[in-house]
Symmetry: none
Subunit: 267 residues, 2 copies
């Protein structure tokens, strides 16, 4: 895999994703090949192999590839599957249906982990068959296991590019988890500002209670009940220091009252 | 597979997947709408909403829908986003990029778990923006959190149908994990209260903005900035209907002004 060091696409993954080959067998609709190229580039893969594609190259493939023309241009076309798989130390096939002669069957997530682990030793391949009929038994014989994407039992035929999207998405997640990706992971919820410390929150709650008294909103017989509800509400939001300041600014304005009604505090 | 003998998609999920609404805003390429319908049906979803789609209905959409014509035929077209979101107790938006004004950001997996949990209380929505420009800030204001699909940093623009495929795949996995797949009944809401639906939250935000104007708290040069911050704060808290009512009660009192200072509205 000297591909990673090649001039084009210098920001391509340097990790295991670069060793994963996507092999499309006898694809019927060239538009799907373009969609596959786009899905691969989105997820950081780069090695596309086409075994006897029909009607390819084609303007439709190029159009569907959108910004992934470079990847499509470097896709290699092969006359037979074995040439496309040359050098691969692990080969998985995709299949929509259960077969009587069962291969080991993996979920997309398990398959991604399996392929990435094997990719540390050399190139690996993921095979996708024809749009209508999938892979033949002879082609499946080249596979060590099958991957099945879980679908609604009544409608299990995924679009080819959609199937590649799901599998390459799982490959990318697996690479990111293993620290083999190229980008920072998505941030956890609430990212950004630091949460307000306890004492700031308590000052806010005291300010809120005082303001609600001024506004005659608290039930004099049971003021704690409402305050407890409001505390739970705001606690769930984890307000930042800035947000607490905004809320306290609103309280200060509320205690002064509305403008423009002969309010001596405001006009 | 009793499909042929049954009227319309009666084998569609009766579980939480059936409560997840996919909302496409202002889609430019009708082919993508067909691809989305197919992806949804593959993954067991059925509720597709189109807000001002361009060039739709179209033969291209129908062609790309493949075996999902029935789902496409039942897709509802709306003039505005709020109508499409009516009744939803949780709304997540998809976004390819980080924004300065940050919403809570979820991975597709976390978003799927989040939506399915909320779906036990009522309909939930997942928003997808325009192919080139995504969702506007005004549309994102309707969302409680954003979902970002991890992509290669140099090429992050997923095809619309591919993005829907990834998210609906994660939703299906989450439903299968939770045992809420195709046949499982909707879970009854847990101990907590039901989240306020979209339209109640929007009425609260409108009430809040109006009150802040009366209190002279909004920056007249940039009123949207503060409102956006406050929306994010309250969205994180998932207010219930009761809590929204309490907050609106406070606003009503605040607009009348404080008691005991010669305020003609109160004394």
């Amino acid at each position: 895999m000297a591909k990673d060091t090649q001039p084009k696409m210098t920001n391509e993954p340097t990790g295991a994703l670069g060793a994963v080959r996507i092999v499309l067998v006898n694809t019927t609709h060239p538009g799907n090949i373009g969609g596959v190229a786009r899905a691969m580039k989105n997820m950081g893969l780069s090695d596309l192999r086409l075994v006897n594609p029909q009607g390819y190259p084609s303007a439709e493939a190029t159009a569907r590839a959108s910004g992934a023309h470079d990847l499509l241009a470097r896709a290699r076309v092969h006359d037979d599957l074995d040439t496309a798989l040359a050098g691969c130390c692990r080969v998985l096939g995709t299949s929509a249906r259960q077969r009587t002669l069962r291969w080991p069957e993996l979920t997309p997530r398990a398959a991604a982990a399996d392929l990435l682990q094997a990719a540390s030793s050399g190139p690996v391949a993921l095979l996708f068959g024809r749009e209508r009929t999938g892979l033949t038994n002879e082609e499946l014989d080249r596979c060590q296991a099958l991957v099945t994407i879980p679908t609604h039992p009544d409608y299990s035929s995924l679009n080819l590019a959609a199937a590649v999207q799901v599998l390459t998405y799982e490959l990318r997640l697996a690479a990111l988890e293993a620290g083999q990706g190229d980008a920072a992971p998505v941030e956890s919820p609430g990212g950004g500002e630091v949460g307000a410390p306890h004492e700031e929150l308590e000052r806010f709650y005291a300010h809120l209670e005082e303001t609600l008294q001024v506004l005659d909103f608290l039930d004099p017989d049971n003021p704690r009940h409402l305050m407890r509800r409001l505390r739970r509400l705001f606690a769930r939001a984890h307000p930042s220091v800035n947000e607490v300041n905004i809320l306290r600014g609103i309280l200060t304005h509320a205690a002064r009252g509305p403008v423009g009604r002969g309010n001596p505090e405001r006009d």
